[in-house]
Amino acid sequence: MAKSIDVSDVNIYYGDFLAVEGVNMTIRAKSVTAFIGPSGCGKSTVLRSLNRMHEVIPGARVEGKIVVDGQDLYAPEVDPVAVRRQVGMVFQRPNPFPTMSIYENVISGLRLNSKRMNKSTADGVVEKSLRGANLWNEVKDRLNKPGAGLSGGQQQRLCIARAIAVQPDVLLMDEPCSALDPISTSAIEDLIHELKSDYTIVIVTHNMQQAARVSDETGFFNLKATGEPGRLVEFNPTKKMFSNPDESATEAYISGRFG
């Protein structure tokens, strides 16, 4: 089910402000792609354009083509809501629905879309998703407790379970560990490794060690200059990126000379 994503000539705007310019890349299926770069360079913006979440902000728009499985996500007949069912997303801060239990949170994507399913199907989806998110053993005895009662790391894995319960082709992660402690972070990183076999994963991270640990390929974003739009400086296999980058700017960033 995992699918590749072709991004070509993408410009992303907030109103009249051009935030990211001329992005071209191919994200491979069943692999982990990391976006790195200094703050404000547009990596999260690019990520959010991959499932049309960018346009949720009033005035925001995207130019160019993002093709998944032969279908341009920005073609006029495409329903952004349908796109988001195929391309799931996990956010920086864990955001389980506070009014719902753990169980309801996991199947919320299906329930909110009023999919009809019987109890045993639902139970199956919940268990499978929670197992997929490495959370089942920790919460199986308290599925009816509120999701907000879990620890931060558990909440984030609950959000991952919620995202994979709708069986997307692609999973986007926007700095999923930045609000978590080191132990929870390593649990999420392990999980990313496992999920790679089923999903195409794109992760934005500020943590270069994390990018090096979890990703197969890495895109480095940077601003041309202050006040200029952000752009994709380099896109290469992670190994190459961290040992022998093509661009001097990449090397400077990775070696910690700026950013």
């Binding site: 007949e77 329903d79 349908a82 195929q86």
Partner: protein, 314 residues
């Protein structure tokens, strides 16, 4: 990952029509537009049904030559009563607000705050009852006192009313009604003063009052003005307290607030005429209501403008 929900895997098309969003958005928009319709309706129906009052003769206008003279006299009383009420409310609400936000120990402040909120909910008709049966008799000696000692001020020219059901008593009831709501905002405004400012003042060796004068009051100035204007809007439009407490004979214009000859307010005039049956007299009531609407609109508009200016400035 196909076993459980195979419909998903067949559902690969990204296009699709979802009427739900459009319908829901349309419904909420329609509700919002209804607000406009409602307000326009108020203005239009009052204007249409009040217009005949322009041709009313003195026999339907309490012997006034035309409807403007009548409404003018009533507006005078309305503004006078509301102004007296606000003169009472201003210091009391600031004091009460400061007690809750700064002076009272926390254990006392919370219940007092809650009590003030509850008092804001007491129906006006109950305030009116209390004004007639409890306040007015106790105000009678005060009236005598004011006339004896301060009779040289036109407001207290006298002769003192024997029942004390005067504009002064009505204004005090108005003040008590506006007090809880104004206090609630004052308290909110005061407690939003940044703690750092207050601590800085205290660290400079200020006494509590100096700290309040230097930080809390300047910081909350626009909020305080807005609160008072909101209270003024309430006092202008408040009906029952005046309609019940005030004893009136004709519609007159008088500065005297302690005698049995009192100015009346628009709202009370309308309420007292609620059993009117003649269409022309009803039109006069509606016309007066329109004038009151315009006046309160103006005051509220001013209040909002000041409040917004305050927030923009920070």
């Amino acid at each position: 990952m196909t076993a459980t929900l195979d419909e998903k895997s067949t559902d690969s098309s990204l296009s699709g029509k979802r009427p739900g969003d459009a319908i829901f958005r349309g419904t909420t928009l329609a509700a919002s537009l209804l607000v406009i319709v409602f307000l326009a309706g108020v203005a239009i129906f009052l204007a249409v049904k009040g217009a005949p009052a322009l041709d009313a003769g003195p026999e339907n206008l309490r012997d006034k030559a035309n409807v403007f003279a009548l409404v003018g006299a009533l507006l005078f009383g309305t503004v006078l009563a509301a102004a007296i009420a606000m003169i009472i409310v201003a210091p009391l609400s600031i004091g009460l607000g400061l007690v809750i936000s700064h002076y009272a120990p926390r254990r006392l402040a919370k219940p007092v705050g809650f009590l003030v909120d509850l008092l804001a909910a007491v129906p006006s008709v109950v305030f009116g009852l209390w004004g007639i049966f409890v306040l007015a008799p106790r105000m009678q000696p005060v009236h005598e006192f004011l006339v004896d000692w301060f009779g040289w001020i036109p407001l207290f020219a006298g002769p003192a009313s024997g029942t004390a059901r005067t504009l002064l008593t009505a204004s005090i009831v108005l003040a008590l009604m506006a007090l809880p709501i104004v206090t609630a905002i004052m308290r909110e405004v005061f407690s939003q003063t940044p703690r750092a400012h207050q601590e800085a003042a205290l660290a400079l060796g200020a006494t509590r009052w100096e700290m309040i004068r230097m930080t809390v009051l300047p910081y909350g100035r626009s909020g305080m003005v807005a609160a008072l204007l909101l209270g003024l809007g309430r006092a202008l439009g408040e009906t029952m307290a005046v309609a019940m407490v005030l004893s009136t004979t004709g519609v007159i214009t008088s500065w005297n607030i302690v005698s049995s000859q009192n100015s009346n307010t628009v709202a009370a005039f309308i309420a007292q005429g609620y059993k009117e049956a003649s269409p022309i007299r009803v039109a006069v009531l509606i016309f007066a209501g329109l004038a009151l609407f315009a006046l309160t609109f103006l005051v509220n508009f001013l209040g909002r403008a000041i409040a917004t200016r305050g927030t923009v400035k920070g």
